[in-house]
Symmetry: D2
Subunit: 148 residues, 4 copies
């Protein structure tokens, strides 16, 4: 991938529509739900990069456990809003993978929330293990493009 | 139902306090969350009857999959309300177990929601299997008390 | 129901992809989440029929409170499955509206769950009120098509 | 921080038991649910300090909107675990309030997750406003104890 704005190509973009279930009595989306959308973005990014996370769990017994999550909320999402979730791989170092997210309101591209998560590859026993080679390569490729 | 108080022994009673996360923009609890409280009631009832559901899954590989759930909503629960979840085993027939629930507001015992669920015992492969004998006996005992 | 295919016009169809958040340790979707998808189906059906539920709440102060919900689970949905939610208005009588749902796995159209909900129109005070005329007409139109 | 145990007075402590709904197919608690427990801890701390958050919303029309949330996950919580949520007010400056959380497994006091959130007081219109005096005083008192 070239260096001419390559990150636009590697940021997985997916859309979600806010569910009534996701609002709270403040009339806006409850804060923990943004972490669910981060997960939606992450899954979609991996799918777009050829990494089927579901298959990875089944084939290799490896899981990507979350070790850190951070979110900054700029403006509230509301019921029925269509949102864009942009996800980037920002680092792969051994079993540790980092993602960054931006959640925008689709109709005016207002930034509502940004955040990041850190994951570590573990086995079914929740102990660290090496990331399966095939998947490591795919994620590293995504990360190096993001860094251009 | 008899007047000997038997039902007090079998109706598992547990309490939950409504979380902000469980409300929606209507200012009341979102309807799917009552099914989560049914689960809390079910777990607690089983614990009180000596049936540790967590242990059952680990020891026997058997799971209780839900095949039916019904709820009737009478009055809304609101943020910070303390609720009573009353749970009864209403039937055990082979691998099929039935529970009934009533959710009351603690401070005035207003009935907010009642419902029932039907479960079937399955293995890890989601295929029906016999309920482990020890657990079948405990649930049957609970159900026969409920029928007095 | 007639054989003219009218129901295909009225059953709102929408798609959701199963999120990791929606699974539980049984390895399948947690049962309460189907009620969230019912809501997604309901919102989408109303949108397709020209009834913007969000706007209705804002304009008229009327809400559609759930008074009953029923679900029968036939086969489990799993992480990353794409699902079809089919929704039909099955009745409108004064302030009471009924919906029916079928949730199918998209790739083989296996029926996973079917259910229904009953709603009543209420004001912000949670007391029954008449459904705003414009919205009543739209829902009745949807329901009469479903009854053909 | 002093060695006089003052922090024990200010850290609100509350307990939650892990629900089946809160697990995911990894067999552990889904990461967003820790933010829900942060909220449970926050509500309970405020209640213990004489600040009824529910009442504050009703009386003053002021809400505490979340502007930042951070969590570090050390070890997984599992179904049916009893957890301790310890919450501290770490700062009050004008309309901005900060909380810190530790979530421990009750039976061996293993630290599972720690985090913090930042909130800003807003009106129903989601615009910043001054914190009602009575509530500001209560939170400041809690924060100054935490700083001893």
């Amino acid at each position: 991938m070239s260096n001419d704005g390559a990150t636009h190509k590697v940021a997985g973009e997916t859309r979600v529509r806010v569910r009534y279930a996701e609002t709270d009595q403040m009339g806006v989306v409850y804060y923990a739900n943004y972490l669910v959308w981060f997960e939606v973005g992450r899954s979609e990014l991996m799918r777009q990069r050829g990494l089927d996370y579901k298959q990875m769990e089944i084939e290799t017994g490896c899981l990507m456990a979350v070790v850190e999550a951070n979110a900054r909320y700029q403006a509230p999402a509301r019921y029925d809003d269509e949102l864009i979730v942009e996800t980037t791989v920002t680092g792969v170092r051994g079993p540790v993978v980092r993602f960054r997210y931006q959640i925008l309101r689709a109709d005016d591209r207002t930034l509502l929330c940004e955040g990041d998560t850190v994951h570590v590859v573990v086995g079914r026993d929740m102990k660290r293990c090496a990331m399966p080679r095939k998947y490591a390569a795919l994620l590293s490729a995504a990360a190096s493009h993001a860094a251009l």
